[in-house]
């Protein structure tokens, strides 16, 4: 198992290198960027860029140095917009906020989606199931950026129950977490239902019944694990969906996370910040995919660990 984990983590290295390389060349070779003489960039930023990219060197030397700088010192360089801040500083401020939003949303999505899916499967084809299925389909179709304004209108501006901006207390977190989580919860519910239906028909669940276990134990001890494997597989893409969704959620609720900086950087053409944030996103997403694979292998003893 430990070897499997190490191997899986090691397999990230080439993909990450590829991603990082891609980002470097995008930034460095993109036209219309700060390296063009036409754009007016503050002199201190140019100086920092010069230091970071050593613009007089040939590109591949630049690449080598840049990569060494990134890998050895974890430095992502200066930003254009905030001359006295580095990309690292911005990430240090915003990453915890986004992670917090993402993790709460993920927990919430699972806490909502799994029980709904299980109930749907247990009451298959009766009206509660049909209703839940339809709601889930609607839930995963309505975009977060439509849902959020609607809920703000309802809970924030009509009922005055909840604050609608910033991220200071748990009351501030309720709406953004809910909006971020809902589409994922819908996906989870659908996957749980389908997975449970498949497992509940399997021979080993019949064996569990033949032992005299109560329906509750049959579901909880025997069916749930297999039925939830599709959900586990989905956690990687689901987390990626959450991060991407956090771009709009952070914008709508004015939350100072990575997503907001990302969008701002895009609008300011703050190339270096975009590059830095992309790298962090890439690491997060690929890392979470690896974690999911590991979790899957841990849950399903049949997964070959030796490949």
């Amino acid at each position: 198992m430990i070897r499997f984990v190490l191997r899986r983590l090691l397999s990230l290295v080439p993909t990450l290198l590829l991603a990082v390389t891609l980002v470097f060349f995008l930034v460095r070779l993109a036209p219309g960027g700060p390296f063009d003489q036409e754009r007016s960039v503050p002199p201190e930023v140019l100086a920092a860029l010069e230091a970071k990219y050593r613009l007089s060197d040939p590109v591949w030397v630049q690449y080598k140095d840049w990569l060494a700088d990134l890998l050895l010192r974890g430095s992502l360089g200066p930003t254009f917009k905030y001359p006295n801040r580095t990309v690292n500083e911005i990430i240090a401020l915003s990453l915890p906020v986004s992670i917090q939003l993402g993790l709460w949303a993920m927990l919430f999505a699972l806490a909502l989606g799994v029980p709904l899916g299980v109930v749907g499967a247990m009451r298959q084809n009766r009206w509660p199931d049909a209703l839940a299925t339809a709601i889930a389909l609607v839930g995963l179709s309505v975009p977060r950026f439509v849902l959020a304004p609607l809920l703000i209108m309802l809970f924030g501006l009509t009922l005055y129950w909840l604050p609608v901006a910033r991220f200071d207390s748990w009351r501030h977190m309720v709406l953004p977490v809910f909006c971020a989580a809902l589409p994922m919860a819908a996906h989870v519910a659908r996957l749980t239902r389908a997975g449970m239906l498949e497992v509940v028909r399997s021979d080993f669940v019949r064996t569990a019944r033949a032992k005299g276990l109560s329906e509750r134990s049959v579901v909880l001890r025997h069916a749930l694990r297999g039925g939830l494997l599709p959900v586990v597989s989905y956690l990687g893409p689901g987390f990626s969906g959450l991060l991407v969704g956090s771009l709009v959620i952070e914008k709508i609720f004015d939350i100072p996370g990575m997503g907001r900086y990302f969008v701002e950087a895009f609008q300011n053409r703050d190339y270096n910040l975009i590059a830095g944030l992309s790298i962090v996103y890439g690491v997060l997403l690929m890392g979470s995919n690896a974690l999911v694979d590991i979790a899957y292998a841990w849950l399903d003893p049949r997964v070959e660990l030796g490949r």
Binding site: T15, L18, A19, V23, L26, V27, A30, P31, G32, G33, D36, Q124, N125, T133, A134, L137, V138, L140, S141, V142, P143, F145, V146, A148, P149, L150, I152, M153, L157, R193, A194, L197, R201, S233, G236, P237, S240, L243, V244, L247, V248, K251, I252, F262, V263, F266, Q267, R269, Y271, I274, S278, Y281, G282, L285, M286, N289, V292, D293, Y296, V303
Partner: protein
């Protein structure tokens, strides 16, 4: 282990399509969805032709007004007719659905078809590429590409000017920059949405390629490409249709998402995502500006998903959710 399961396609025959049609007809949600989508498409295409109110004609003196007889869905901050802007947005969504999905279809079926047909090393290499791309956060990648390349000073822009110049000699006019950006979004989305399609087609092709009718085609001298595109892909049409129906809302959603963030379609053009973004700014004072675009966008996506589910149940009865 995150691969979608691909099952061998059943032999396709006329009766199979009529069976599928019979099953689909019994699915009321899918039929209603299809009707809604057709209606939305027709209105989006036809309304601009009939209406006297272009999507970009501002009337600053009028400003934002709620729905009225003159403006059925009201007007926005600049006094522009919301219905017209919504219909233009509908055209954008329609175009994304056609162009991006079309592109993903072409790339996906070719990639998967060739990999599955030739098998062996070719297959391994091609699918390895797909696996690696799968682990890439592709939306982030699209945003990156948009950030760096959706500008005037790129070869892509020159290509746009060259092609668009064929129909409009003032293609280089800065007024057309938003249009260029729109096309850029289309192509960017299409070129990252083909991975699942490739996997599905490959699975189908592998299960079909040893079938007698493929042998027969080979024996009468049909070439490799002829077999892949003339015989294998058409016989895998069921799952391809299902997946296409699910890709369309996905690319539409991403376009709306990008536009919402200000990274996609730009003013003065209109798109549902852009309209939602604008409406969200003033949702407490001009609620209709978010209500209608939000509703139409959600309705479209919900309908596509119901239709896609219905198609899957109809065309692939083995994975029907009710046994």
């Amino acid at each position: 282990m995150n691969e979608p399961t691909t099952k061998p396609a059943p032999a396709v025959g006329a009766s199979q399509w009529s069976d599928a049609w019979r099953r689909l007809r019994k699915n009321r949600a899918a039929l209603v969805s299809a009707a809604v989508l057709v209606a939305l498409a027709v209105v989006s295409v036809v309304q601009p032709m009939l209406s006297a109110l272009p999507y970009d004609r501002a009337d600053l003196a009028l400003g934002p007004t709620p729905p009225s007889a003159a403006h059925w869905l009201g007007t926005d901050l600049y006094g522009r007719d919301l219905l017209s802007r919504l219909c233009f947005g509908g055209r954008v969504s329609l175009a994304v659905g056609l162009v991006s999905t079309g592109l993903s279809f072409v790339i996906g079926t070719s990639w998967g078809g060739i990999a599955g047909y030739f098998g062996g090393r070719v297959d391994q290499l091609m699918m390895r590429v797909v696996d690696v791309l799968y682990t890439f956060p592709l939306i982030i990648f699209v945003i990156l590409v948009l950030a760096f390349f959706a500008h005037q000073d790129t070869v892509f822009y020159e290509a746009f000017v060259a092609v668009y110049g064929l129909v409009n000699e003032r293609a280089r006019d800065p007024g057309y920059l938003p249009l260029y950006r729109l096309f850029f979004v289309f192509f960017a989305l299409g070129s990252v949405s083909w991975l699942t399609m490739a996997r599905i087609v490959r699975g189908q092709v592998i299960s079909l390629r040893e079938q007698p009718f493929i042998e027969a085609a080979r024996s009468i001298g049909v070439g490799h490409l002829g077999i892949v595109f003339g015989h294998l892909v058409p016989n895998a049409l069921g799952p391809i249709i299902v997946y296409t129906a699910l890709t369309i809302p996905e690319v539409m959603l991403v376009e709306a998402f990008l536009s919402f963030l200000g990274l996609g379609t730009e003013e003065p053009l209109s798109s549902w995502g852009l309209l939602v973004a604008g409406g969200a700014e003033t949702l407490d004072i001009y609620p209709w500006l978010i209500a209608f675009p939000g509703l139409v966008l959600s309705l479209t996506l919900v309908s596509f998903n119901f239709l896609g589910d219905g198609l899957r149940d109809a065309l692939d009865p083995r994975v029907r959710r009710d046994s």
